[in-house]
Amino acid sequence: MDSTLFSYLDYAVYGTAVIVMLIGFYGAMVKKSLLKIVIGLSVIDSGLNLLIVAIGYYKGGTAPIFSQGFLENFKSVSKMTDPVPQALVLTAIVIGFGVTAVALALVIRLYRHHGTLNIDEIKNLKW
């Protein structure tokens, strides 16, 4: 990595994404409330999605859309940002949504069954 090209912004985007993920992990692993755990899990997803989108970004790149204007004063295709991470993140978001929905439904069930949202009290299955 050429360090001269490295600006603080470079650290910032990935750093933020990673920190968001870590916050999510922390929430999922330390907080006692089931809801907070689920929130933690979806915060992890958010951080991850941010990270993925950031990979596809090029400095000064345009959106990967061949609009009329783009075609008229034709710029190089390499000026476009990478569309693949964007496509992947779309899938990841949808899947994350599905998982979160299922998790929330389970939280409802657990609350119905145990009458509490504290994960420490939901330990009927062990060893």
């Binding site: 490295f6 912004l9 990673v18 950031a54 009458g115």
Partner: protein
């Protein structure tokens, strides 16, 4: 104690993850030397032969359309699982956690907004191959319209049967188009419609069709999710 441990662990994990991505580098070409990334091929082929303006759409629906089929299935499954997890023997109609009408400003406003939201959603997914957006985004917008109505009116209800029919039909359309492509060209999801002219509504072959199906499906499924969860009473003794 546990917190400290977790923070320590996460610090190490975060350090390595961050360093890894710093190594990759941000905002500049990061592929290793001597590799021709597929994104170049995608970008090149989006205009010709696919005649799609939005490269993300071309990837989502065509190049990696199989992923999208899986994605739609994930949503469909999520709804199924939700229904299974929250299933109760007797469905009492109108038993909702939100049991009051919103103020008249909200109700009137929602009535006003609802068609507009639906229209916007439809626009977004119909033009998914031309502009940013697509089936998922459009579907979500439509679902927010339903969410708005559900929140505003105490006894607004959506027909479960209708939702499931829309969902199924949309899914069948997606998979069916794929199978038609299979019969036509020998590979699943192959384009079999004329490509059209770039940047026109009728371009991109089967892509708009699939995206419209996806739009309907996502809308129906998200509405289904919201509706199922809303109909869930919060008492602990269920």
């Amino acid at each position: 104690m546990k917190k400290v441990l977790v923070i320590l662990l996460l610090a190490v994990l975060g350090y390595y993850t961050a360093v890894t991505f710093f190594d990759i580098g941000f905002g500049q070409p990061h592929f290793v030397a001597g590799v021709k990334p597929v994104k170049d091929i995608y970008l090149a082929k989006t205009v010709k032969p696919l005649t799609v303006s939005n490269a993300v759409t071309s990837i989502v629906v065509n190049f990696r359309g199989f992923d999208t089929l899986g994605e739609v299935t994930v949503l469909f499954l999520a709804v199924t699982v939700l229904g299974s997890v929250l299933y109760k023997k007797r469905h009492a109609v109108g038993e909702r956690s939100v049991l009051f009408n919103a103020s008249s400003i909200v109700t009137a406003g929602s009535k006003l907004l609802f068609p507009a939201i639906i229209l916007l959603g439809a626009y977004v997914f119909i033009h998914g191959h031309l502009s940013p957006g697509g089936g998922f985004q459009g579907g979500v917008i439509i679902a927010t319209g339903f969410l708005l109505m559900l929140l505003a009116y105490e006894n607004y209800s959506v027909s479960h049967t209708a939702l499931s029919i829309v969902e199924s039909l949309a899914g069948i359309t997606f998979a069916g188009v794929g199978l038609l492509g299979f019969m036509h060209g020998g590979t699943f999801l192959q384009n079999f419609l004329p490509a059209g002219v770039l940047n026109n509504l009728f371009s991109g072959g089967i892509i708009p069709i699939i995206y419209i199906a996806v739009g309907f499906k996502v809308a129906a499924e998200l509405t289904g999710v919201i509706y199922t969860v809303l109909n869930e009473k919060g008492e602990s003794n269920g």
